[in-house]
């Protein structure tokens, strides 16, 4: 029974394609899977948008949307209808073709990334050796669409936003990639399925997730930070920093194209959260052996949603950085930290004693963190101040 619930979608797929002749089955299963992904993630997108608006509202001592449907659950539907029926405006001087293609490229690229994520036991669309590489390759191609959008709008704010976005995404791709290298080093595979399998082991009832190791913890934190920057989430939302450059690269987008950008952004968030979950949080595995009866796909999506919640929480709290600080943070802090983390991963691999490798690993990570944080803040002469009073 538990097995059935865990594999329900796989069984469903087999049952469905079983009606077809043998030769068609492979193609049909791919088509069905793609259709499911293309249907499920926009639905999740709707949920996430609602969650975001409600969560932000609660953090700000207000309700958030609660008028459309019970508790406002139909708000995303209303939003969707609104953006679909809105006029599609293309600026007169815009490069119409590029302006049109940009959102499509973005959405296609982010959906491609989802193909390699194992969303449950035996639930991965394309199983390949280099799936991590594939994911990053797809992530890299979103930058081009951002640039296309910004450039083709012929708007100064768009252009500034696109420049910011591209610079930011390129810069943060480096720490993002490097923070995952530790996982690859330890697991010895670029395949996401293998990485999850390596984490689905339990000792004393506790899972062997990568995040429970010093290099994994540090890598996880850096991955989270870099992923916020990669998906242009607050506090790294400079490309669309609405108080500075209106809406950045999609200033001149409206209607359905804008909705596509919005969708692309959120699906990008899901995919990167899914990747982070896969790499550090054990993918679809349960944290405790005792909880393994819960279906694997529930674990995966729960973790992704939790990740999104964290993004929302951060967005509700922090102000955004400035461009040069963003770059400094990436190149002078995150990048060295990821390199140090590689060292820690190597140490973990080669030091024998269980306690010794823990202590050494944590010492290296914490020492580097404190050192670099202190030096960085001191160099910029930043810190709390005290004030004098005149009578």
């Amino acid at each position: 029974m538990i097995e059935k619930a865990d594999q329900i979608f796989v069984l469903l797929l087999h049952w469905l394609v079983g009606f077809l002749p043998e030769a068609w089955q492979h193609v049909a299963s791919v088509v069905v899977c793609v259709a499911v992904i293309v249907a499920v993630y926009p639905a999740l997108f709707a949920v996430a948008v609602l969650m975001e608006r409600k969560g932000l509202g609660r953090m700000q001592n207000r309700y958030g949307p609660n008028r459309v449907g019970p508790f406002g659950v139909l708000q995303p539907v209303a939003d969707g209808i609104k953006s679909l029926t809105k006029e599609d405006i293309v600026p007169r001087n815009a490069d119409a073709a590029v302006h049109f293609i940009a959102p499509l490229v973005l959405v296609v690229a982010v959906f491609m990334g989802l193909a390699v994520l194992p969303m449950g036991r035996n639930m991965v669309l394309v199983e390949m050796d280099a799936s991590l590489l594939f994911f990053f390759a797809m992530g890299a191609s979103t930058e081009l669409s951002v640039f296309m959008a910004g450039w083709s709008s012929r708007n100064k704010y768009s252009l500034l936003g696109a420049m910011r976005a591209v610079a930011q995404m390129i810069s943060y791709e480096v720490p993002l990639l490097l923070s995952t290298v530790g996982v690859v080093m330890i697991t010895g595979s670029l395949s996401l399925v293998d990485i999850v399998d390596a984490q689905t082991r339990y000792s004393w009832g506790l899972a062997h997730w990568n995040v429970f190791k010093p290099w994994g913890l540090a890598g996880f934190v850096m991955f989270v930070i870099a992923s916020m920057a990669e998906t242009n989430r607050s506090p790294f939302d400079l490309p669309e920093g609405e108080s500075e450059i209106i809406a950045g690269y999609f200033t001149e987008y409206s209607g359905f194209k804008f909705a596509l950008f919005f969708l692309g952004e959120y699906v990008g968030m899901f995919s990167i959260a899914g990747l982070g979950t896969t790499l550090f949080l054990g993918g679809w595995s349960s944290p405790l052996a005792a909880l393994s009866w819960i279906p694997s796909w529930i674990w995966f999506f729960a973790k992704v949603e939790l990740w999104i919640c964290f993004f929302i929480w951060v967005r509700g709290t922090l102000p955004r950085l400035r461009q040069d600080q963003l770059m400094n943070f990436a190149w002078k802090f995150l990048l060295p930290m990821t390199l140090v983390n590689l060292l820690v991963a190597a140490e973990w691999r080669f030091v024998e004693g269980v306690w010794l490798r823990w202590i050494v690993g944590m010492a290296i990570v914490a020492g580097a963190y404190v050192l670099m944080g202190r030096v960085g803040m001191r160099r910029e002469r930043l810190g709390p101040r005290s004030y004098r009073y005149a009578e």
Binding site: D129, F136, A137, M138, E143, L144, W151, V166
Partner: protein, 167 residues
């Protein structure tokens, strides 16, 4: 010669043609990105996953962006609207192109002749590449890494000097 190959080849060629014939530099750069992507797909079609993905990651993700940035930073996006796509030294260009084509053609023909003896293609997985890089080709790899590090240091120094000069 499958249909997929024909489509991909046409896509790549169309991108490449557009990259050299379009008037708008940014359009050229985007067309170049299409050509890169087509090439990557060709690699994938040949089951060379690692090369294919690296092609996308490096060329579409980084090189194309670099080109675009270079265009934006150095000149207005559509300077050179006037004038033809042919430069004045097109004759020399033609000569060079012919020479390169001949060389490539010769190489291809030679390798085809060689391939005729080989039976089947070896399965090149990422794992194989990794093994090879870390064992057989470890020295070249280290040399390349050293070279890149040196280049990186050099770039940092150049950037630092510029900053000092600006102050």
């Amino acid at each position: 010669m499958s249909i997929a190959f024909v489509v991909l080849a046409l896509l790549t060629l169309a991108g490449a043609m557009a990259a050299v014939t379009l008037r708008n530099l940014v359009h050229c750069a985007l067309a170049l990105a299409v050509a890169f992507a087509g090439l990557a797909l060709l690699f994938l079609q040949l089951d060379a996953q690692f090369v294919g993905f690296t092609q996308i990651l490096v060329y579409v993700g980084a090189v194309a962006i670099l080109v675009v940035f270079a265009i934006l930073l150095t000149r207005g996006a559509d300077d050179g609207k006037a004038g033809t796509v042919f430069s004045r030294t097109w004759l020399a260009g033609l000569g060079i192109a012919a020479a390169v084509f001949a060389l490539l053609g010769w190489a291809v023909l030679r390798s085809v002749r060689g391939l005729a003896q080989a039976a089947g293609t070896p399965a090149v997985t990422v794992e194989n590449i990794g093994q090879a890089l870390m064992s057989r080709y470890v020295l070249p790899l280290e040399i390349v890494a050293l070279l890149l590090t040196a280049a990186l240091v050099g770039a940092v120094i150049v950037a630092m000097y510029e900053k000092e000069g600006a102050r």
